[in-house]
Amino acid sequence: MTAQTKSLPLARSKARENLGRNWYKFSRNPMSIVGLITVSLVVFLAVFAPLVAPHPKHASAFVDFANASRSPCRTYPFGTDVVGRDILSRIFFGFRFSLVMGVVVLALVVPPGVTLGLIAGYNQGTWLDTVIMRITDIFLAVPPLVLALAICSVLTPNLFNAMIAVSLMWWPWYTRLVYGLASTLRNEFFVNSAEAIGASEAHIIFREILPNCISPIFTKMSLDMGWVILIGSSLSFVGLGVQPPRPGLGTMVADGARYLPDQWWISVFPALAIVVIVLGFNLLGDGLRDMFAAEEV
């Protein structure tokens, strides 16, 4: 009936079998493995940046005019920027900002968004449902980036505020997703039985309905990591996210924009780094979607 059988001790070997089957479904498309490797690599580089980067000090305030604007070579594989900082090392540190943005935004968005969707879906048809979904509609009425920009503009431009802004614009999508799922599940047998035995609304929502929504939520989360990072880099590019001299990926692209086409490496390599990180999360997300998909009989 529900996912509660997982808590029984007998289920441990079943869990292992499930893992094997999930891996098979995930790995059927080789691109998903590429995504997994890419994301793992990015995470590794981000976490161990101080150890792995060839010139870790370049990530913070550092100048070395003697080596400024050098094209890619052995010491500086991606070249240096106008004040002599190694682009490659800065990109590793830039991954940190990207990942932090993704994780924090999702952490801020998913719990309230999902909860609101559950409440609205469970109470479908009542005023509670209407109110919640109307508020959701209002936030969704604005073209995607504009709301984030507006909020950014009110606050001082920095990464933290950019995260707040993106979160405020992102949560309605989870509410909508879960609302659709919850309002369908709401009338299922197992919910009605729980109500009949007097279970509280909180119990029903979180212990009965939610476990059945986990897969789509999880898939969306992994895909969203990529999108949030994309938006974050766009905001940084414009000056509303990671502020110079910090090595945000979008910031670095903006820094180098005025030196095109001669010192192209200053913008191009960070831009490619953005593409790689977003691509990785997308492929990973697709793989997870395949993994959660119902098996064909």
Partner: protein, 342 residues
């Protein structure tokens, strides 16, 4: 008529939503630190000038009164004066909005046309090499931010190869045709000025394609996926078995049902590009409302910010309604309540 009722319902819903939106925007703009009046006249102006301005701007009145004045003026087309350009925001909007609209429209046509075309080709030749090429390109198109495309195009076609112009809407030295719609291409056509028309079109290409890439990739993916799903449906097999030629099936009976999800997304993407065009506008020096809005946001130009958000919100809602209408027209299952059968 059902369509009328549908439109009426959506309009009412939208008014409600816009109302809420205006409240949110207004609140945001009033929360900002700093004194708007002081910012308007500068740090060196004497205090009495600031105080006068505060009276004029109703800044000393309670918040709900301020909201009332703001809304009343907005509904009359008066969004106040821009701190940056020092002229009525309404004029700024009139000047900059058509530029973005033209760019977004161009991008939209590419997104729809090329996207559907690529998706169809991909679905027809599923799993062959051309399908794989299109899929890879679509994937890259989706994960790459538009500003990256813009920079790459600028670098490649504009600077290195020097094929295309890199700035503005028309070349210096050419004069704009008289303003009818604000879209230089349309106005040039209307005035019969082909030289300007082609020049403007030429200027549209790089930024337009850069802007369109993400949406194009989306449409291609969705079209491919929907079409290949529909190809295996029973009704296609049935139509074949009844002797309807393959060409007719592909062009008519498969295409129409497959377009439905694509058109919904196309509408949303088009509306979204209006807001996200600033990335491309900045790089190509395109005088559009999106860039104007970003500037306003960076300089904390309250009136401009509020106006831009409202305008974009209204356009977004209108496009959404139009898309829903088109989709309902295409798909009778949405339009006609089941159970109306005899």
């Amino acid at each position: 008529m059902k369509t009328m009722a549908f439109i009426a319902r959506r309009v009412v819903h939208s008014i409600f939503v816009l109302f809420g939106l205006s409240l949110v925007i207004f609140t945001i703009s009033r929360i900002m630190p700093g004194d708007p009046a002081r910012m308007a006249v500068g740090a060196r102006a004497p205090q009495w000038v600031v105080d006068n301005l505060r009276e004029q701007m109703h800044l000393n009145d309670p918040l709900y009164a301020q909201y009332y004045y703001w809304l009343r003026d907005a509904l009359h087309g008066d969004f106040g004066i821009s701190l940056v350009t020092r002229r009525p925001v309404a004029d700024d909007i009139k000047e900059f909005f058509p530029a973005t609209f033209e760019l977004a429209l161009f991008a939209g046509i590419i997104m729809g046309g090329a996207g559907i075309l690529l998706g169809t080709v991909s679905a027809r030749h599923k799993d062959k090499w051309i399908d794989n090429v299109v899929r890879v390109i679509s994937y890259l198109g989706v994960v790459t931010p538009s500003f990256v495309f813009a920079i790459l195009f600028l670098l490649l076609f504009g600077m290195t190869l020097n094929w295309m112009p890199t700035m503005g809407r028309i070349s210096t030295g050419l004069s704009r045709p008289s303003v009818v719609t604000g879209l230089i291409t349309i106005d040039a056509l209307l005035a019969g000025d082909l030289a300007v028309f082609f020049d403007a079109l030429w200027h549209l290409i790089l930024p337009g394609i850069a802007l369109a890439m993400g949406g194009l990739a989306q449409e291609a993916r969705i079209t491919r996926s929907t079409m290949s799903d529909n190809l295996t449906k029973d009704y296609i097999a049935s139509e074949r078995s009844l002797g309807i030629p393959e060409k007719v099936i592909m062009r008519k009976f498969l295409l129409k049902p497959s377009l439905i999800p694509t058109i919904s997304i196309l509408g949303l993407d088009f509306a979204a590009t209006l807001g996200s065009a600033f990335l491309v506008e900045l790089i190509f020096n395109w005088p559009g409302i999106s860039r104007y809005g970003i500037n306003a946001m960076l300089r904390k130009d309250l009136n401009a910010i509020a106006a831009v958000i409202m305008i974009l919100g209204v356009v977004f809602i209108i496009v959404n309604i139009l898309v829903d209408l088109v989709v309902a027209q295409l798909d009778p299952r949405i339009r006609l309540a089941p159970g109306r059968g005899e």
